[in-house]
Amino acid sequence: MRPGPAVALLAALAAAALLAHHLAAVGVVALLLFAVCLRAPAERRRFYLIGTLVSAGALFCLTPFIETIGSHPIWTGPIVPVLGQLDITHEELISAGVNALRLAAVGFAFAAYALLLDHDGLLQAVRFARPAALATRLMPTLERDAAGFLEALRGRGVEVNGVRGRAVLLSPLLASALERGLNLAEAMEARGYGRTGRTSVPRPRWRARDGVVIALAVAIVTAGVLWL
């Protein structure tokens, strides 16, 4: 499949999740995207899946305390300054579930995009294709750098735990990215980047199944608006 229709399909599924109102419908979309992510190598997908699941879980836990909807309380707690009376209603739990699954669906769609698609092909037609391709690779590169720093620390007998421990790595990660950027810029210039008269590899021909996928993407968004 060409990367363009694949992105359209992922975007349509994420949009459908955002537009749908029924818990089951959003759940099915999130589950489908999760299954797609499982096609990526375990080592690489872990970072994306854990990040998405933790974010979605946090949203599910916080939403009932922030929203004030529904008339079927399940639990009533103390009065907290600013927030008022803490309570959890049946309706708030449903709403929290829908929002968490929406966030999960969007996160899984991004993970599938980052892990499984041919970004070069996708961005080939765009004028700023090369910078965009490099930007797309930034996350996986940072992820690999972070894993390398942690492994080097373990090799020195230092275990890094918790968010605070990992926060120490932010500055070296930024410095690594800048250093790599300079080296890459030099290599690109040596390979003729920026010269006039650039050509490009002919793009693959459009096939019937690419059209089918685009039609499916439109249908999914329409279904999200009208029935889900």
Binding site: D120, G155, G157, L169, E189, A190, Y193, T199, P202
Partner: protein, 447 residues
């Protein structure tokens, strides 16, 4: 007529105290393979960059004299315009890859120089085939090993059909067989090649002529036979190391891998049924072709990975040096970086820095150090914890023969205190340092 020439070239990087190149004059004939040798910081990489036009266009600095390639003065022609006539392969393949698929990566340079669109893919495939990597065409670059990446980088350069090929340590991540094949291929291209390498023995087999630089000056410019005589007389260590002749004093076992299997992806074991024993007092070299799982075995021995099956025993504390020295640039000062493993004990860190020849550099930022100095900083960061098992993964990447000899001496100095495992492609270093070599085969470790 010479293809390229440098005429009284003196170059100083911005904010550098001394010139990186001093009064360099030389000519390169079409089809000539020239080996550029010299210690770290001698100006080899700078010379290669001068012929690519990157010095001074990309780096800035003070440029005196003249460099010409194919009749074009590099001061008036930017590097992007020289691309195609000149092609470069730099030291670290990971820092020159632009795109995510191999075939697109090889095509990148061809697109930049305006190759007819219908010919780009065929030229890219031809270049991959020329370096024995046609099977990689549709692979993602993120999935390739360092050795495979180096071959993709060479294919990217060869695809341009340049007149002058500049190779800066092109075989640093290749096993001996692959490095020989790589250099043999380069020598057979029939184009002028300037190749810098810290494993000179193999390069000398394929070169026509040798340049030896030190302190930015050309000390030697001679055909290979005369150069070998000169090296034998003045820099014998560059012609290969002698076996250390040491009798290792083995005592208790520090590490044992028994029937170990490990897979990064389910069903695709990288190492399978591996047995290995390491004893206090011995230095063991772990060798084998690219992709046979040497690094994985080293990480299993050091406890950085847990085997999927089999037993990994470690008696005591392990310290492991990873391949990439930039992983040891977390803190703002060199001594703070080294002290990370010893709970901030800067006194011990200072001693370790001194032992690695970095005394006086305690306050320097790790990223301000040269690549050779960074390598030694990384070593100091692991040495300082005084491990019972010391594991070094390719510790001689980018290290010149003199420094390699010093490293071998350092490892020998108090080797009785620990077991040492050295993963290396560098046969000379393995001979110089190890008491025992272990060859990693397709499926098992053979002692």
């Amino acid at each position: 007529m010479a293809l390229a020439r440098a005429d009284r070239l003196t170059f100083t990087y911005p904010e550098a105290g001394a010139p990186a190149l001093r009064d360099v004059s030389l000519e390169i004939e079409p089809g000539e393979v020239v080996a550029v040798l010299g210690p770290s910081g001698s100006g080899k990489s700078t010379l290669l960059r001068a012929f690519a036009g990157l010095v001074p266009h990309f780096h800035g600095g003070r440029f005196q004299g003249r460099v010409e390639v194919a009749g074009r003065d590099t001061r008036s022609v930017p590097p992007s315009e020289l691309a195609g006539t000149v092609a470069s392969v730099f030291q670290d393949p990971e820092e020159q890859i632009v795109l995510s698929l191999v075939i697109r990566e090889v095509a990148f340079g061809l697109e930049n120089v305006g190759t007819a669109p219908t010919k780009i893919v065929a030229r890219a495939q031809e270049a991959l085939a020329a370096v024995g990597s046609e099977h990689l065409a549709d692979r993602a670059v993120a999935e390739l090993s360092g050795g495979e990446l180096q071959r993709v980088c060479l294919a990217s350069a060869v695809a341009l059909r340049p007149k002058l090929l500049l190779l800066d340590e092109p075989t640093s991540q290749l096993d001996p067989g692959a490095a020989s094949a790589f250099l043999e291929h380069v020598a057979g291209l029939g184009i002028a090649v300037l190749v810098s390498d810290h494993r000179p023995r193999r390069v000398l087999e394929h070169a026509d002529r040798v340049l030896f630089l030190d302190g930015g000056r050309v000390l030697l410019d001679a055909p290979v036979p005369a150069a070998k005589d000169w090296l034998g007389e003045n820099r014998p260590i560059w012609l290969g190391a002698a076996a250390n002749g040491r009798a290792a004093a083995q005592s208790e076992r520090v590490c044992r891998l028994d029937g170990v299997q490990f897979a990064y992806r389910a069903g695709l074991p990288v190492v399978d049924n591996v047995d290995l024993e390491l004893f206090r007092g011995e230095i063991v070299a772990l060798a084998g072709a690219n992709g046979t799982g040497k690094t994985t075995i080293a990480k299993l021995a050091a406890g950085l990975l847990t085997p999927d099956s089999g037993t990994a025993e470690l008696h005591g504390r392990a310290g492991m040096l990873l391949q990439d020295p930039t992983r040891y640039c977390i803190r703002e000062r060199a001594d703070e970086e080294v002290a990370v493993g010893v709970r901030g004990d800067r006194a011990r860190a200072g001693e370790a820095l001194g032992a690695l020849g970095l005394g006086g550099m305690e306050a320097r930022h790790p990223r301000d150090l040269s690549s050779g100095e960074r390598e030694r900083l990384a070593l100091a960061s692991v040495f300082v914890i005084e491990p019972d098992l010391l594991v070094l993964d390719e510790p001689t990447r980018g290290v010149d023969p003199q420094r390699k000899a010093e490293l071998a001496d350092l490892l020998h100095a108090d080797s009785e205190r620990r077991a040492t495992l050295v993963v290396t492609h560098d046969e000379d270093f393995a001979i110089a340092v190890a008491d025992r070599s272990v060859l990693v085969g397709e499926e098992t470790v053979l002692a």
